[in-house]
């Protein structure tokens, strides 16, 4: 296999699999947060703050996958 072709495939695989876990994770976080807001609407602000921090940490993993993909492709 040509090295360029291999790099393109590796980039696609890295992003594709890297996004799987964080996708499920963010879904779980947001579903629980919405459930909590439904139970206790007065605490919306605090729940949202915690939710956003959780989403940011989970999303960071997906972003690492993206960074790795760029590294494979361009370095």
């Amino acid at each position: 296999m040509d090295i360029e072709v291999a790099k393109n495939i590796a980039m696609a695989v890295a992003v594709g699999f890297g996004m799987l876990g964080p996708g499920i994770g963010i879904g779980l976080i947001v579903s629980k947060a919405v459930e909590a807001i439904g139970r206790n609407p007065e605490a919306t602000g605090k729940i949202q703050a915690t939710m956003f921090i959780g989403v940011a940490f989970t999303e960071a993993l997906a972003i690492f996958a993206l960074v790795i993909a760029f590294i494979i492709k361009f370095i």
């Binding site: 960071a60 972003i63 690492f64 960074v67």
Partner: protein
């Protein structure tokens, strides 16, 4: 079908006093000009507000109330509100003006004989988002040092117990990783949107890109809000004493 043109970085248009001028730099300056225009328009404050003044008052007041509720203190809110609001407004303006007609479509012939787009979305350049991430990262650390003094370091170097030490080191790494996640989150979202629109335009040039552009408009506002919100939440966790 014409060829899809996608470039990861910004393109150089020429040099000014030896400094390279890129298309995203022009866009950033255009965004700054838009913000100054908004300041100029909202200068005439009247007791009987018009629609524009009501909108600006709701926006600025809303951001201030949110910062106050999150930081749970008026003096802290007054200190950090300008930073949060500036980050939000500059990113939202940069994200929204790239839907103006002419961006990406007006071409410029450089001295090297290459045809490049004269304007390109400011936040679709990693340099811009990295600069914003650096601003927010440095402000978060300074906020922590300013509020807690020397004991801020105890969050990262904790010699009380072995477990505390390991957790401190992990915290230190996740603190540094914020720089990457902040910059790549904004860059990735906006750049991905641009690529998707470019591909749709290449396949079906009329009507089909409109819903996608509407969605990207929404993503631009959301990403600006997330950037400002995360800065706010990290400032909040930095100024809270460790226990």
């Amino acid at each position: 079908m014409h060829e899809i043109h996608i470039s990861l970085g910004s393109e150089k248009l020429g040099t000014f006093l030896g400094l390279p001028i890129t298309n995203t730099l022009l866009m950033t300056l255009l965004g700054t000009a838009t913000l100054f225009l908004i300041i100029f328009l909202s200068r005439n404050v009247s007791l009987l507000p018009n629609k524009f003044q009501v909108f600006m008052e709701l926006l600025i007041g809303g951001i201030f109330n949110f910062v106050k509720e999150t930081l749970e203190s008026v003096s802290l809110a007054k200190k950090y509100f300008p930073l949060i609001a500036t980050l939000f407004l500059s990113i939202v303006v940069a994200n929204l003006i790239h839907f103006l007609p002419g961006v990406h479509s007006i071409l410029f012939l450089t001295n090297e004989g290459k045809e490049v787009a004269l304007l390109r979305g400011a936040t679709s350049d990693l340099n811009v988002t990295l600069a914003l991430a650096l601003i927010s990262f440095v402000s978060i650390e300074l906020a922590g040092v300013y509020a807690l003094g020397f004991s801020y370091a105890k969050k990262f170097v904790n010699l009380d117990s072995f477990l505390g030490f390991v957790i401190g080191i992990i915290d230190l790494f996740s603190e540094a990783a914020r720089l990457i996640s902040f910059s790549f989150r904004l860059f990735g979202n906006i750049f991905a949107g641009e690529v998707v629109i470019a591909i749709i335009v290449a396949f079906i040039p009329v009507i089909a890109p409109v819903p996608m552009m509407g969605f990207e408009f929404f993503v631009g506002i959301i990403q600006a809000a997330i950037f400002a919100l995360l800065t706010l939440f990290f400032i909040k966790s930095a100024v809270t004493p460790h226990h």
